[in-house]
Symmetry: C2
Subunit: 369 residues, 2 copies
């Protein structure tokens, strides 16, 4: 299997801008061209677009407006982890020898149709993700005697981190009190427990080993990939206090990368709602079961930003098709030591955890400098 590196990145501001999906995708693609040395349109063998937009033929559209005539070109969709699914597809094209250079761009509008899962009848009238997040929050709080304040720390911490991220949707820090006094949406969920839909795009350029050094002096290697789909309807989850798909995906990724959870120095994890952060910290093996909120609290109190340095999804915003790619971009910047005010020393191993629809599916990527 050929090695695959990330050799270019692009990310737009995350906003409420009302512009066509193809223009959003073009913005981060243009940034890749502006920021990547020696990159020509003709270098690109494949263009993959990640989005929940209903616009068809988006990869051909992005190719045309970017001046690219790729061999391989299509859109990839898997709700909130569309972005990492597209990265994994691009990886496989290079790993198999079918391509040397792949552009992966994900984007979404704030009004994406991916925010409601019409299909899942087990959701009853509650098709919005707030419903499943509420059930998970209830289940997790009950099982481990977690208080509202413990989860509020997750929101406060991620909004705080986001203040150092110029692209983040959140422009304001919130205290734990702000979170627990914010508008109640359900018995277990307040508005500041939730990430916010927004408009934004992110891109990565993937290259084979042969081409990596052409585009950057500091290629970042995709060293582990784990994916798992348990189901589509969240009610098939055997419990509401555990992320089963993330547990399976991370084991596969750690195995391939030949690392243990302790080796991870920086991670972007899928905190679409406050409860997701402790669940993911536990599923990834960063802490014990039931102790996720303790870890979040320690990170908050010691201002340790190794988890979600860009502000996670709560702080940065959640343009579905862009999210997994934006998470990856942050880890690449951390490993390249170009994260500016967010830089965490000199990490060499980073991780991305990106999931969909109540963790019915997950992708975990391990990146190494």
């Amino acid at each position: 299997m050929n090695k695959v590196a990330i050799t270019g990145i692009g990310v737009t501001d995350f906003t409420r801008e009302d512009i066509p999906i193809e223009n959003i995708l073009l913005k981060s693609t243009k940034e890749i061209f502006d920021n990547t040395k020696n990159l020509q349109q003709s270098d690109i063998d494949a263009v993959l677009v990640s989005s929940n937009s209903n616009t068809k033929y988006l990869s051909a559209i992005l190719s045309e407006i970017s001046g690219i005539s790729p061999k391989i070109s299509h859109s990839v969709e898997s709700l909130c982890n569309s972005g990492t699914n597209a990265i994994v597809s691009g990886y496989s094209y290079i790993a198999s020898g079918m391509a040397d250079v792949v552009l992966v761009t994900g984007g979404e509008r704030y009004d994406s149709p991916g925010q409601v899962l019409e299909w899942d009848k087990t959701r009853g009238e509650f098709k919005h993700p707030v419903f499943w997040a509420s059930l998970f929050t209830h289940g997790y709080k009950q099982k481990y005697s977690i208080r509202e304040e413990d989860l509020a720390i997750v929101a406060a911490r991620n909004h705080k981190n986001a203040q150092e991220n110029p692209h983040a949707y959140s422009k304001k820090a919130y205290s734990v009190n702000d979170v627990i006094n914010s508008k109640k949406l359900s018995e277990d969920l307040r508005v500041l427990d939730c990430s916010r839909p927004c408009t934004g795009a992110s891109s990565v350029l993937l290259s084979s080993e042969k081409f990596a050094k052409k585009f950057t002096d500091t290629p970042i290697w995709i060293s582990g990939i784990g994916q798992k789909t348990i189901s589509a309807s969240f009610i098939k989850n055997p419990s509401f206090s555990k992320m089963f798909s993330t547990i399976e995906a991370s084991n596969i990724a750690y195995n391939q990368a030949k690392i243990t959870p302790e080796d991870v120095q920086v991670a972007e994890i899928h905190d679409a709602f406050t409860v997701c952060e402790p669940l993911a910290l536990e599923a990834l093996g960063f802490t014990k079961e039931g102790e996720g909120t303790k870890m979040s609290k320690t990170l908050y109190e010691t201002d340790n930003r190794m988890i979600n340095p860009r502000g996670g999804i709560l702080g940065t915003g959640h343009p579905l098709g862009a999210t997994g790619i934006a998470q990856t971009v942050e880890i690449v910047q951390q490993l390249q030591k170009t994260a500016g005010k967010r830089q965490l020393g000199e990490p060499k191993i980073g991780l991305v955890q990106n999931m969909s629809a109540a963790a019915t599916s997950s992708t975990v990527l391990v990146l190494k400098s």
Copy 2:
């Protein structure tokens, strides 16, 4: 690069049935399980769905209702060649060693949103494919002095072939006179020059060499893959009498398969409109430029069914996300000598040509027994 075989097939009837997209996808998936020896849900590493449907998370939904919990799972969309794009993605997962067994299922409803390309402003008020087909027909007729009757033979021939295909949407043969007397849609196009949207699904099971013999005694090998995206808006085509993306894609595929056009013994080509058949025959190198209709005429008069034995898209119908996979299923059956009344002797090399949006992009697959 690991070798990749097609080791299972499924195809539904193509109809106007008004059923949910997930039920259509399930039908051909179920057929694969019914028809493939030793296949268990737990064998499947990846589920890829090809569709233009606006329903999100379709691959997870199909996985759940099929009892599969795959590692890799997402939807692939590229308008009319979504199906072969999904096959190529599945191929790359196996070729790279990331998966051993991949289920690829494509489906569409008759009212698919993929039938209109809203984005392309160069289409003016004419967003329906009939418009571009009309321009191509006009350009091709003018350049090579082709008559309406010459193109009508293409429709008559494909509808005739479809009569031996139990899954085909066309239940009736049409004479050349029927075609040229059918309702006029534009200066250059009549209703029988056009393929028809319908409801249907198709599936292929892809396997690594290691697993191929577990599922079938007659694996069919994907020996050449060529893809090319020129643009998204058809007006960028340098001429309306040539399929540029198919020329490039077929050269790549022939090269990888180490064959020439003369070696191809059976082919399914993308005759979404009558003019597409001669254009594709020329682009694939099966005949000289400007002589595509002569070849179609000879095939018709000698009842040689080596091109579109199942009735092509004109005869079988065009459920967009299923089409490329249904074309592939036909070639697999021909190479396995299981095509029943449609069987063409004992072909060993077959080809699929699947394109999108006025041939702005094409996929060409070479299959060998």
